[in-house]
């Protein structure tokens, strides 16, 4: 829940460039550092003591101003406000997964960092080493490495699942002192099931994106424009929140922070923010109502009704079976029962290749979901799995 939103002019030029607000995470400051109308840096203070001093501090930055946060910093302080741990994380390729995390820690509490840990992740599946963690410890406080501890998570058979973990310790010169290796399942009791449901689990396939230069006369809707509003939901169950965000922003022209939408939806009981929670199909339009977007929700619809709505300049939200969208209809990969488990915005139907009509989606569930192209027949099957639900938002 967001309380007491305050608008700030941090550089005194008479133009508002920041907001401050409280939510369940703590006290937040959101800055628009380049005045492009987008919050590109968010500071969060939490863990307040009885004197009002925060002991945890986080910063998220969108360093290239493309709307996706890509640099993350966190720091913890002790009772005397000495920094005891500091970490930085980077999502270089902006796929929603960290590529590098660096952490500095003061484990002895003498006010000096004595341990530096760097973790690098290969989320591409192109290398045998899926993750590599290097820690260096300065035991005597002379700011020199006294020992190194390294671990690698390895995927020997290239199936995308970890097979083994190798531990190495090194002396100050970097020579190996000891090396051991163990099956991944024995490592911190993380088994294959835990792994499969973790952040590192396999991402959906990249289905290809709509080309904004496509002949507009062959395309229903305005996908090129709507693609600009797409965002990735990461490892959350917020698809219906994002789908409504895209439509609300397209129709009202007003940008609404995702955390505000989540807070409103949670506060009203329309959404549970956990992987096993999400949204019921009858609650898929509640944020549209809340933000005053005129719309109509219905079930058992036909493709032609989506196409008509797009041709009329309206926005369309649907529920689909994500397995069929992302992984196709292979005969050996399926679930015992299908249903709509995912909300997306349909932003166009591309008939520029009449033999292969494609549905264009703004799909927040895939890192490649901006203008995602899905063959029309695959889309129809995935849509029918959920009683062909459609919400038409009137422009």
């Amino acid at each position: 829940m967001i309380d007491d939103l305050i608008t700030l002019d941090t550089d005194g030029d008479g133009i508002s460039d920041a907001i401050a607000y409280w939510d369940e995470n703590g006290l937040n400051y959101a800055y628009d550092t380049n005045l492009d109308g987008v919050w590109d840096m968010i500071e969060t203070y939490s863990g307040f003591d009885e004197y009002g001093n925060p002991h945890h501090f986080e910063v998220q930055c969108d360093t290239d101003a493309n709307g996706i946060m890509d640099r993350f910093v966190a720091a913890d302080t002790d009772y005397y406000n000495n920094t005891v741990a500091y970490s930085e994380a980077y999502d270089y390729d902006q796929d929603g997964n960290f590529d590098m995390v660096k952490e500095f820690a003061d484990t002895t509490g003498d006010g000096t960092f004595d341990t530096v840990t760097t973790a690098r992740f290969d989320n591409t599946g192109s290398s045998e080493t899926m993750a590599k963690v290097d820690s260096y410890v300065d035991y005597d406080g002379d700011r020199q490495k006294d020992a190194g501890f390294h671990s690698q998570i390895l995927d020997y058979d290239g199936d995308g699942n970890p097979d083994s973990v190798r531990f190495t310790s090194t002396d100050p010169e970097g020579n190996i002192v000891e090396e051991t290796e163990m099956p991944f399942e024995d490592y911190l009791a993380i088994n294959e099931m835990d792994y499969s449901t973790s952040l590192l689990a396999q991402e959906p396939l990249d289905l290809g994106q709509f080309d904004p230069d496509t002949d507009a006369s062959m395309v229903s809707g305005d996908p090129a424009e709507d693609m600009e509003l797409w965002e990735y939901q990461g490892n959350t169950g917020r698809c219906a929140i994002y789908a409504q965000k895209f439509a609300i922003e397209a129709i009202t022209g007003r940008e609404i922070p995702i955390e505000e939408l989540v807070a409103v939806a949670e506060e009203n009981g329309w959404f549970v923010d956990s992987p096993d929670g999400g949204t019921t199909s009858l609650n898929m339009n509640k944020l549209l109502e809340y933000y005053g977007v005129e719309h109509e929700m219905s079930f058992g619809n036909e493709m032609s009704e989506i196409e008509d709505a797009l041709n009329d300049g309206n926005k369309v939200i649907v529920g689909v079976d994500s397995g069929q969208i992302w992984f196709g209809d292979e005969n050996d990969i399926f679930s015992p029962e299908t249903t709509a488990d995912h909300a997306v915005e349909v932003i166009g139907i591309d008939r520029s290749d009449p033999a292969n009509p494609m549905v264009v989606l703004n799909d927040s569930g895939s890192p490649d979901g901006c203008g995602e192209l899905v063959p029309l027949d695959v889309f129809e099957n995935a849509w029918n799995a959920g009683d062909s639900q459609m919400i038409v938002c009137y422009a």
Partner: protein, 177 residues
């Protein structure tokens, strides 16, 4: 009233029922039902759970049963809705965490269509059992055995504990090997 295919018809339309659309979050699907007799009334309990496809063969993640809707037979009126996450018996269950993979060994030889045929056969088996219970007739033993075999094959082994917790009698009679 014709009681020939009560369960098959219930499952054919269950996703369209307003109660389901109102309280079951997107992504949850009906698992195989449980038959219970309570206060001399036959109840069909429909469990709802999630599956998550990973894009790998036989690596579709099976999550724990989270919700149960109970319908009185033969009217199929909803009489009870349960969220197992708030029940004491399931306090230690992590509903975010997978409990197994699909396809399990017993159905690995079935492709999409083959599995759909098995599922239809299991639901038709439920129809036979329900019809005999509603009409208070003796169920043909060979048909009951065939149903048991199909049901035991179809239910994911990782969910058996949940079925046992939902109704020990049904589990003992139809699912326990």
């Amino acid at each position: 009233m014709d009681y020939k295919s009560l369960i098959t018809e219930l499952y054919a339309g269950i996703k369209k029922r307003p109660e389901v659309k109102a309280v079951i979050p997107m992504g949850y699907v009906p698992g195989y039902p449980v038959l219970t007799i309570r206060n001399e009334q036959l109840i069909v309990a429909v469990p709802f759970l999630r599956y998550k496809q990973t894009g790998e063969i036989d690596r579709t993640i099976v999550f724990p049963i989270r919700y149960v809707m109970e319908f009185v037979v033969p009217e199929l009126t909803l009489v009870c809705f349960r969220d197992l996450s708030v029940e004491e018996a399931f306090a230690d269950t992590d509903f975010d965490k997978g409990t197994g993979f699909f396809r399990h060994d017993a159905v690995k030889d079935l492709d999409r269509n083959g599995y759909a045929a098995l599922r239809a056969r299991v639901l038709a088996g439920f129809d036979i059992i329900v019809k005999s219970l509603v009409e208070d007739t003796v169920c043909d033993a060979s048909k009951e055995n065939a149903f048991k075999n199909d049901l035991q094959r179809a239910v994911e082994p990782s969910l058996l504990g949940y079925y046992k917790a939902l109704d020990g009698d049904f589990y003992s009679k139809y699912l326990k090997k």
